[in-house]
Amino acid sequence: MSLTNKEVQHVARLARLAILPPEIAEATGTLGRVLDYINLLNELDTEHVLPTTHVVPLLTTWREDRVEPSLPPQVAVQNGPEVLSQMFVVPKILDGGAG
């Protein structure tokens, strides 16, 4: 399996990464090699291994629905490059929303 330049551009755009045209071919090569390496796993016989999404055999842990103190709002927003009325200021949104 090999990665194409187009796929790299697509993933870069989704991840909001600014990749310059000359860098695309390089990324396609290096990222492709990483994926090829992962593909080595396909050579293993996993027929008798249960599919799993987690490496730690930890099952459901949950907490009680009890309120804990939140941060003071001025602390919560202190990393914001711009803050107005105790809220983070973000630039004009062109897109119509997501999620």
Binding site: H54, L71, V90, I93, G96, G99
Partner: protein, 486 residues
């Protein structure tokens, strides 16, 4: 050209769960607080923090799943849904992708013969995003936005219907019934205007000769409509728009559209191909959600009686079908009815008074049965005054209005307004005799077979008694007195 199309509608409903805390941190889940006062490193998306699942949220979600006849999976997991938006501090939302909490349920709409099941594909748990306040009037011409993360991390369930509705009206019925069911579970505020219940609608038109998969039809999603009425309007508009495009030989673009309340139209927001690549992968910071048989049995045990069963019970008690629908739709109204019937057992009388006169007063003042101004007990004692003949129906309406305004007991109002129905036969007979004497021509008409003439005489007697005579008694006495004159 007017090709035949079948309208296909699927709805995605987001419901905020009424827990004390957020889904993955101990911040309070509270609406309407000062901005960014309910946040912590977890829901702010700081590096190095770990989410811990709120057990109560799972419990409320499971109750919704049970009420909607879903199969709850003993094993489900959380995934990261990735996209960039300023209301999403982690740049991913913790949701459930390929192994949701529950699947394969249904909601029944319509009644009697017309009853129909609308399938529910899945219910999953996820966290809400924060809230954006746009600087300027609307998103389009905003100069920037302000981010409040109080809502970020609030527990949500997403209820995804199957594409099995075929008209805006069916969509409205589905939403209404879904809301009714959820309202009895008491798991959410379900306030669309506050965003604790939100609805997205997927609409496509299926050509009558189409045999492919519904999934392949170009589908338009209308996002975040803020009322049931507007969901219906949005779908209506969208069906018209799509039909028109098809009639002109134009293709339907798969996209997300917003709904504009003022004009009743939808407008394009973004094309779906572009934005739909969420690159889900399993959330490594949360273990899978494994639910035991005992835990599930416990949830089942906590289930209240649901609308379907309540409706059957009401029909059995002789409540008319139309009234049953109205009573069950609002749990507070239903509870009020139950209390009133416990105090005064004439079901028909109680239902009539609650649904006509009392509801009219409540609606006129935009009041809810959660806090009734006239208690069920007071209403019952008013009905007892009618039963005993102390008040006529007409007088009782007047008393009810006074009770509504002053909060007095019916007895106190009756006393204050001097509204005792005259049941003293001799007193009424004197008035009846004088009315008969004063109207010989009308009496003659009556004797000649004009029944209407009697109504006139009854009216005269009521006028002289200021409406306080018992109408059937007046009727009887008039006939009696006229008979002696004839």
């Amino acid at each position: 050209m007017s090709a035949a199309y079948e309208v296909v509608i699927g709805l995605e409903v987001h419901v905020e769960l009424k827990t004390a805390t957020k889904l993955f941190c101990g911040c309070a889940n509270a609406f309407g607080q000062e901005p960014n006062t309910e946040t912590c490193p977890v829901c702010l998306g700081m590096p190095g923090v770990l989410p811990v699942l709120n057990g109560e949220a799972v419990s409320l979600a499971a109750r919704a799943a049970l009420a909607l006849h879903c199969e709850i999976h003993s094993y489900s997991k959380f995934d990261r849904k990735q996209y960039f938006y300023p209301d999403l501090p982690k740049a991913y939302q913790i949701s459930q992708y390929d192994q949701p909490l529950a699947e394969n349920g249904y909601v029944e709409i319509g009644f009697g013969e017309g009853k129909r099941k609308i399938g529910i594909e899945r219910i999953h748990l996820e966290e809400d995003a924060g809230k954006l306040n746009h600087i300027g009037n609307r998103l389009g011409d905003a100069t920037g936005s302000l981010v409040d993360l109080n809502r970020a991390g609030v527990p949500l369930i997403e209820i995804v219907s199957r594409p099995q509705m075929h008209s805006p009206e069916e969509a409205r019925q589905y939403l209404t019934e879904l809301k009714t069911i959820l309202s009895y579970l008491d798991i959410s505020d379900l306030r669309m205007e506050e965003g604790s219940m939100r609805c997205d609608a997927n609409i496509s038109l299926k050509p009558s000769d189409y045999t492919g998969s519904l999934f392949d039809l170009p589908r338009v999603e209308i996002k975040n409509v803020n009322s049931f009425r507007n969901v219906q309007r949005g779908i209506e508009y969208e069906i018209g728009r799509q039909k028109e495009r098809l009639a002109q030989g134009l293709a339907i673009v798969r996209e997300t559209r917003g709904f504009d309340d003022a004009s009743g139209t939808t407008y394009s927001q973004r094309s779906k191909e572009e934005a739909n690549d969420y690159r889900y992968f399993p959330e490594p910071d949360l273990p899978p959600l494994v639910l035991s048989e005992e835990w599930l049995a416990k949830q089942q045990h906590m289930m209240p009686e649901l609308p379907d069963s309540l409706r059957a019970g009401l029909l059995q008690r002789g409540v008319a079908e139309r009234d049953v629908q109205v009573l069950v739709q609002d749990p507070d109204l239903y509870r009020y009815w139950q209390q009133a019937v416990a105090e005064f057992s004439d079901v028909r009388q109680v239902t009539n008074w609650i649904l006509s006169d009392y509801s009219r007063l409540m609606n006129a003042h935009s009041l809810s049965f959660a806090a009734p101004t006239v208690t069920a007990k007071a209403l019952a004692s008013l009905l007892r005054l009618i039963e005993s003949g102390t008040l006529s129906g007409k007088m009782a309406k007047e008393v009810l209005e006074a009770m509504f305004e002053s909060g007095e007991t019916p007895q106190a109002v009756v006393k204050r307004l001097g509204l005792i129905q005259i049941t003293d036969q001799d007193a009424i007979r004197d008035i009846v005799s004088s009315v008969v004497m004063a109207n010989p021509a009308v009496v003659k008409d009556f004797l000649g077979g004009k029944d209407k003439a009697l109504a006139f005489l009854v009216g005269q007697v009521m006028k002289q008694t200021k409406g306080q005579a018992k109408p059937d008694l007046v009727n009887d006495l008039l006939r009696e007195v006229i008979a002696t004159y004839a």
